[in-house]
Assembly symmetry: C2
Homo-oligomer: 247 residues x 2
C-alpha cells in the first residue's frame, strides 16, 4: 500500500508537501521521482500523486483527480471525555481516531482527579497524536482535539449542536441500539453524535440531571464496570457497529 | 457498593477468605464484625456475606443463599491474540476482561515481532492482571490466560471446540452481524465464540487460508486500519453489542 500524507496544497493537478512529512518522504522513505503516494486534503478527498520534484524542504507532485476517502464513517462522532489521570487521554485519542471519531473534547467535572496544567502545551501534543493516528489508520480527515472545557456546565451548554447526545452513566439507561434507531440527521448531513464519558470518579447525580436537562440520552453499558479509558472505546465501537461502520 | 472478593471456600452457609484478599479486607479496608461484602465463587454465583470472625490470615463469614452473577455475558468469548510487543498484551487482557471475555490465548505467528521469553513467568503476571480486572469490573468468573501457542498451526488445531470462529483480517470479510445471526450454540449452552486477531505484522496469506480451512469465518473491521491492541477490543465490543451484552 502506498504511503499516505496530508496536505492542503493541492490544486490544478499539482500538489506540494512540506515540513516533517516532506522530510519523511524524501529522506526516511527515500522517495524517488515517479514514485506514487496517496495525498489527502484532510476533507475526506484523496489523490493518487506522483513525485515530480524535490525542493529544499518540499516534495512536488502531479496528482490525478481526487476521489472521496472510503475510510470515513457515515456518522460524525464527537467524544466528550472526562479528563483522566496519567496518559489515558492519549490512549483514548489514539484508539478513538482509529475507530472513526472526528472530534475530541476533554472536560473537567466534579469527580475528576486530574487538574488543569499546561493545557495549551498538552493540547498541541494531543493534536499531534490525533494527526499521527489519522495518518497511520488511513483516515480521510484530521480529527481535532479541543482545549478542555472547565466544568460540566460548559459541556451541557455545548450540546445543542448534536443530533444525538449519549451520556454514558453507570446507573444505566436506554439501549444504544434503540437510541440510534430513533435519531435522525439534518437533511443531507451525517448524523452528529456526541458521546459523553466520565473520568475515574464518574459523574455526580446533579451532573447526570444537568445532562438530561440539556437533552442528553442516558445510555447503559451493561453490568460490568468499565474503566474510564475503556468506556469511550466500547461506546464508539458499539456506535460504529450499529451504524454499519465497523464492517 | 460493598467490596467483592473471590473465594472457592463457600459451603453450608459459611465462607472463608485467605491470603492477600483477607489482608486487604481486614487491614486495608478495616472490615469489622457484622460488615457485609460480596463473595463470588468464580463460577458466576455470588453471595452476600457478613463477617463473623477474623483469624491470623483469614476472614470468616456467614453467607446468604447464592444468586447468579448478573455481570456475565450470554456468550462465552475466547480471545486468541497474536503476541504483541511491549505491554500491549496486558492492555488487551485488562480491557478484554472488562468487556466480558472469558479466555485469552496469545499465540506466535509468522509476522510476530515479539519472541517467546520467560513465558511461564509472564503468564503468572497475565493471570494476575486478569484476576484484578475481574474483581474491579465485577465479573462473576475468573477469566484465564493460557500459555502462548507456539505457531498459527497450533491455533488452527484448537478451533473445533468453538461454535463460531471469527478471523479478523485486514483484507475484509463478512459483516459480524451476519455471522453472529447464523451461529447457533449447542443445546442449553452459551454460544462459544473465538476471536482471532493478529500481532503488529498481521497475518500471512497462508495463515488466512489455514484459518479458513480450520472453519474460521473471515470478518472485516471496516476501512480504517486498527492497531493490534485496538482490533481485539473493537471486535469484542462489537460482539457484545450485537448479542445485547453491552446495554
Amino acid at each position: 500500500m502506498p504511503h499516505r500524507y496530508f496536505t492542503t496544497e493541492i490544486s490544478d493537478g499539482t500538489a506540494v508537501l512540506r515540513g516533517a512529512d516532506a522530510h519523511h518522504l524524501s529522506r526516511v522513505m527515500r522517495g524517488r521521482l515517479g514514485d506514487t503516494v496517496i495525498l489527502c486534503d484532510g476533507s475526506a478527498v484523496e489523490y493518487t500523486a506522483t513525485i515530480t520534484g524535490f525542493g529544499d524542504e518540499t516534495v512536488e507532485f502531479s496528482v490525478e483527480p481526487g476521489c472521496p476517502s472510503a475510510a470515513e464513517p457515515t456518522v460524525d462522532v464527537t467524544l466528550l471525555v472526562g479528563y483522566p489521570k496519567q496518559d489515558k487521554l492519549e490512549q483514548v485519542i489514539r484508539h478513538g481516531v482509529e475507530l472513526g471519531c472526528d472530534h475530541f473534547i476533554p472536560f473537567f467535572s466534579r469527580y475528576c482527579v486530574a487538574a488543569p496544567k499546561k493545557e495549551e502545551q498538552k493540547n498541541e501534543r494531543y493534536n499531534r497524536i490525533a494527526f499521527e493516528a489519522a495518518k497511520q489508520c488511513g483516515r480521510g480527515i484530521l480529527p481535532d482535539v479541543a482545549l478542555p472545557l472547565p466544568n460540566f456546565g460548559a459541556v451541557c451548554r455545548s450540546l445543542d449542536q448534536y443530533d444525538l447526545v449519549l451520556f454514558c452513566y453507570e446507573c444505566g439507561g436506554a439501549p444504544l441500539r434503540q437510541l440510534l434507531a430513533e435519531a435522525t440527521p439534518a437533511d443531507g448531513e451525517k448524523l452528529k453524535i456526541a458521546i459523553i464519558t466520565g473520568a475515574e470518579g464518574g459523574f455526580a447525580a446533579e451532573e447526570a440531571e444537568m445532562a438530561a436537562k440539556a437533552g442528553a440520552k442516558t445510555v447503559g453499558l451493561g453490568p460490568r464496570i468499565l474503566r474510564c479509558e475503556t468506556a469511550p472505546l466500547a461506546v464508539v465501537s458499539a456506535v460504529m457497529t450499529l451504524t454499519g461502520n465497523l464492517e
